[in-house]
C-alpha cells in the first residue's frame, strides 16, 4: 500500500476521526493560553461532551427524541451536590451516587415512557423533566428551593483535592475519554448494527429476533448514567447547584451538541461540545444577542448538514478520499440447524375491516420442502407470510411449529424459534455496510468480529464478497435482495419465509436468485416463498399452492397447479358481471 493509501486508510476509520477531533482541539490550544477562564471553558466542554456521548445512545443510536437528558444531567448534579454539602461525601461516592440517581429515574420512568412512539415519547420525557424541576424548586428543605445549594466541595478523591485549572480539566477529560471508550466498545460491538436496524427498520429488527424494548431500555439507561456522571462533574466544578441545571436550555444545548457534532459519532459529540461551549464566547461582540448564535448554529446545521459536522466530514472523505478496499475478515463456519420441524397451519383467518384477507387456510409445510405460494394481488399471500412470522395476529385458527403453538407470539420470539423472513419491500439500513447489515441479524452473536466472520462466509456463498464493505444503499436491487437473504440466514434458521423476493429484479437476477434458493433447499433449508412470477418459482419449488380470496384454490406440483383452469382464471381476473340495475 502506498503512503497516501495508508494515510487514507488511517483517516478512514472512526477511531481516527476521534484522534482528529483531539488534534483539532489541540490546534485550538493557543487560543486558550492556559488562563483560568479558558481552562474552565475547556473543563465545561468535557462535561458536556460526556453528557452528549450519553445522549447519543438514546437519540442517535436508538433514534428516540428524548428530552430528558438535561434532567438526568441536573438530577446527577443535585444528587452529588446534596450529598457533598449535607453529608460531606467525597467525589468517589458522590459520582457513583449521581449516576445511580439518574439511572434509577430512568428505570422508574422507562415503564410508562419507553413504549411510546416519536412525539409522545418526546413529550413524555419533557414531562418527566418538568416534574423533577418542580420537585427541585419546591422541596426546599433538601434542594434549597429556587436558590439551590451553594458551597459544594471541590472534587476530592479519597481526601485528595483535585484543584481547579489543569488538574480538574484533565480529570474531566479523562473521564470523558473513559466514557468515549466505553461507548465505542459498546456500539462497536454487536449493539451498533442492531441499534441501526432497530432505528431504521424496526420491523426487520423484530424479524431478526432483536428485542426492541430491551435495546431501547439499554440505550435510555446508558444515556441516564452518562448524564448523571456529567452532572456530578458539573456540580463539583461550578460548586453550586440551582434549578437552572434542570431547565430546558441545558437540554437544548445537549441536543444542539449532538445534532451539530453528529448523532452517532463520538468524535462528533466531543467536537460539538467544544464548539457549543465556546460559541457564545466568540459571539460576545453581539452583546445581548449572542445567545441567538446557538439557535442559528443549530438551524444552519440541520438545514445544510443533517448528519452533523462529522457526517459532513465523512461524506467529504468518501467523496475526496475514497477508502481503499479493506481486507475481508476471515470467514467463520455457520451453525446449521438440521431440524426436522414441520409448520402446521389450521383454519387460519385474518380480517381487515370487512375484508377476509386470509379466510380459513389449512396448510402443512414439511421439513425440506420448497413451497411456492402464488395468487393475484390481494389474494392474501403476504398476509399469510405476516401471520406465520408474527407481524400480524390471526383472528382465528392456529399455527404450530416444531412442538409449540406460535400464532400470537411476537415476531422476535418466532425468529428465535428458527423462522426467518425477508420483506417484499427491502428493509435494509441503506447507510450501513453490507457486512454490518448482515451481522445485525446474528442475534446469538457475542461480538462483531465473529458476526463479521459468519457474514463473510455467507456473502461468499451468495456472491456478495466484493461489495461487503459498501453501504447497502449503493447496491443494485439484485444484490440488496441477496444481502437481505444473507441477514435472514446468518442466525441459522430452519424455515425461511420469502415475500416477493424477485420484485424489482431483472430477468437474469431472477434466474440467479432462483439458483441460490434451489441450492439452499438442497442443503436442507425449508422454504416458503410468496411470488407472482411463476417462471421464477418453477425453477426451485417442489410444490405450489395458489390463493384466491384468502383461500387455497390449488395445491400440488408446479406443473399441475400451473395448468389448473381455476388458477389461470384467478390470474387473469374475472370479467365484470353486468349488475341488474347499474
Amino acid at each position: 500500500m502506498t503512503r497516501i493509501g495508508q494515510f487514507r486508510a488511517w483517516l478512514g476509520r472512526d477511531v481516527n476521526a476521534l484522534l482528529l477531533a483531539g488534534a483539532l482541539l489541540l490546534a485550538a490550544w493557543p487560543f486558550f493560553q492556559g488562563d483560568p477562564y479558558s481552562l474552565r471553558l475547556l473543563t465545561l466542554s468535557g462535561i458536556y461532551a460526556l453528557a452528549a456521548i450519553g445522549y447519543q445512545f438514546v437519540f442517535g443510536h436508538a433514534g428516540a427524541l428524548s428530552l430528558a437528558q438535561g434532567t438526568f444531567f441536573g438530577l446527577g448534579a443535585y444528587a452529588a451536590g446534596i450529598l457533598s454539602v449535607k453529608a460531606g461525601l467525597g467525589f468517589e461516592l458522590t459520582f457513583p451516587a449521581a449516576m445511580a440517581a439518574a439511572g434509577l429515574l430512568a428505570v422508574i420512568v422507562a415503564l410508562p415512557v419507553l413504549r411510546l412512539e416519536s412525539h409522545y415519547f418526546a413529550l413524555a420525557t419533557l414531562g418527566v423533566g418538568q416534574v423533577v424541576l418542580l420537585v427541585a424548586v419546591n422541596w426546599e428543605s433538601v434542594t434549597g428551593g429556587a436558590n439551590g445549594i451553594a458551597g459544594v466541595a471541590k472534587v476530592s478523591l479519597f481526601g485528595l483535592t483535585v484543584e481547579r485549572g489543569w488538574p480538574l480539566m484533565l480529570l474531566v477529560w479523562g473521564l470523558a475519554g473513559l466514557g468515549a471508550w466505553g461507548a465505542r466498545h459498546f456500539t462497536g460491538g454487536m449493539a451498533g448494527p442492531k441499534f441501526a436496524l432497530m432505528r431504521e427498520q424496526p420491523m426487520a429488527a423484530e424479524a431478526c429476533g432483536i428485542d426492541i424494548r430491551r435495546l431501547r431500555f439499554t440505550a435510555f439507561l446508558m444515556s441516564a448514567l452518562y448524564g448523571g456522571a456529567a452532572g456530578a462533574l458539573q456540580v463539583h466544578t461550578v460548586r453550586v447547584v440551582s434549578p437552572e441545571v434542570l431547565e430546558f436550555p441545558i437540554m437544548v444545548s445537549l441536543l444542539a451538541i449532538t445534532v451539530i457534532g453528529g448523532r452517532t459519532s463520538i468524535a462528533g459529540a466531543i467536537l460539538g461540545a467544544v464548539l457549543l461551549v465556546h460559541l457564545p464566547e466568540w459571539f460576545r461582540p453581539l452583546e445581548k444577542y449572542y445567545l441567538m448564535s446557538y439557535g442559528a448554529a443549530l438551524l444552519a446545521t440541520i438545514l445544510v448538514a443533517p448528519w452533523g459536522l462529522m457526517g459532513a466530514l465523512r461524506m467529504a472523505r468518501q467523496r475526496w478520499l475514497p477508502e481503499p478496499a479493506l481486507p475481508l475478515p476471515a470467514p467463520l463456519p455457520l451453525s446449521i440447524s438440521a431440524t426436522q420441524d414441520t409448520l402446521e397451519i389450521q383454519r387460519l383467518v385474518r380480517h381487515f375491516g370487512g375484508v377476509r384477507a386470509v379466510d380459513g387456510i389449512d396448510l402443512t409445510v414439511a421439513s425440506g420442502e420448497a413451497l411456492g405460494i402464488v395468487g393475484a394481488n390481494g389474494s392474501g399471500k403476504s398476509t399469510l407470510i405476516n401471520l406465520i412470522a408474527g407481524a400480524e395476529k390471526p383472528d382465528a385458527g392456529s399455527i404450530h411449529w416444531a412442538d409449540g403453538r406460535i400464532d400470537g407470539m411476537p415476531p422476535a420470539a418466532i425468529a428465535q424459534a428458527g423462522i426467518a423472513r425477508t420483506f417484499q419491500s427491502l428493509k435494509l439500513v441503506d447507510a450501513m455496510s453490507v457486512l454490518d447489515n448482515v451481522s445485525a441479524g446474528d442475534r446469538m452473536g457475542v461480538d462483531r468480529r465473529s458476526a463479521h466472520g459468519k457474514a463473510v462466509e455467507l456473502l461468499g456463498q451468495l456472491g456478495l464478497a466484493d461489495v461487503a464493505w459498501l453501504p447497502c444503499g449503493s447496491l443494485p436491487p439484485g444484490l440488496r435482495r441477496r444481502a437481505e437473504l444473507a441477514r435472514a440466514l446468518i442466525a441459522g434458521p430452519s424455515l425461511l419465509l420469502l415475500d416477493e423476493p424477485a420484485a424489482g429484479l431483472t430477468g437474469e437476477e431472477r434466474v440467479s436468485l432462483a439458483d441460490t434458493l434451489s441450492r439452499l433447499n438442497r442443503d436442507g433449508m425449508t422454504l416458503a416463498v410468496v411470488e407472482h412470477d411463476l417462471d421464477f418459482l418453477t425453477r426451485f419449488a417442489s410444490r405450489l399452492v395458489c390463493l384466491d380470496g384468502g383461500r387455497i384454490i390449488a395445491d400440488g406440483s408446479p406443473e399441475l397447479v400451473r395448468d389448473d383452469p381455476a388458477v389461470i382464471a384467478a390470474w387473469l381476473g374475472s370479467p365484470p358481471v353486468e349488475a341488474c340495475d347499474g
Binding site: L65, V109, L111, P112, V113, L116, S118, H119, Y120, A122, L123, A124, L126, G127, V128, Q130, V131, L134, V135, V137, N138, F248, V252, L255, A256, V259, E287, K288, Y289, L291, M292, Y294, G295, A296, L298, L299, I302, L303, P306
Partner: protein, 290 residues
Amino acid sequence: MELLQLVINGIALGAGYALVALGFVLVLNATSAVNFAQGDLVVAGGFMGVALAGLAPLPGIALLPFAMILMAAVGLIVSVLAYWPLRDRPPVSVFISTIALGIIIQNGLNGIFGAEPRVAPAMFGTGRFEFGGLALSHQSLAIMLVAALLIGGVHLLLGRTQLGRMLRATAQDSDIAAALGIPVGAMVALTFALAAALAGAAGLLLANQFFVTPADGGNFIVKAYIAVVIGGWGRIGGALAGAMLVALFETVVAAWFDYAVATGLLYAALLVILFVRPEGLFGEAAGRRA
C-alpha cells in the same frame, strides 16, 4: 362559589391556550411535524402588542388585527426557514429546526425588550363585572370573546370555504391534493401563517393579565403539546377541549395547593394518560392517516 370563580378564570386562560393549541394542531396536520416554536410565537405576539402600544396608544382590540397580520408574516418566515427545506426529511428534523428558531426568537426578544416582565394593553380597558359574588374582569371576558370569534372563524374557514377544503385536503394527502391542482406549497405556508397569527393573538390576549417575558415560550408550547396529546393527536376539537382541561386543571388545583403542585400534577396526569390511553382521551383523529 369559590370553585365557580376559579372555573371562570380557568376558562379565560383556557381560551388563550386553545388558540395556541389550535395553531399547533393545524401545522401538525398539514406537515406531520411538531412546530416547537409555537410557544415562542405566542411570546412574540405579546411583545408585538407591547411594541405596537408604544407606537400607538390604542386599546388592544384595535391593535389585534395588526399584531395578527405581522405574526402571520412571521409564520411565513418560519415555514420558509424551518419547514420548507426539510419537508422531505423525517419529522424530527422540523422538531429540531423549530426548537432552533424558538431559541432565535426568544433571545432576539430578550435583546430587544430585556428579560423583565412586560404588559400588553388591555383589549377594552380595565374593570370588572360583578354578579352574585362572582367577578369577571373585562379582559377575561375579552379573551373568551376574541378566542371564540377566532376559533369560530377558523372553523368556518376550514369547513365552509374552498380555501379551507384545500387546506384540509393538503393536510390529509398532499400528493393527491397536488394531483388535483391544489398549490400544496402555498397551502402549507398559509397554515404556518395562520398558526402564527393565532399564537400572536393568544400572546396579545394573555400578556395583559399574565405579563410576558421572553422565556415564557417553553411554558406555552408544553401546554399546547399536552392539550394536543390528551385531546388526541391531530384532532382539532380534541385540542381545544384539551386546552380547556389543562387550563382548568391548572387554575383549580393551583388554588387548592399552589401553582407548582398544580403543574407537577398536570404532568403526572399526562404521564398517566399516556400510559393508560396513548391515543388520548378522545382517541386519535379517526381515519386521518387511513
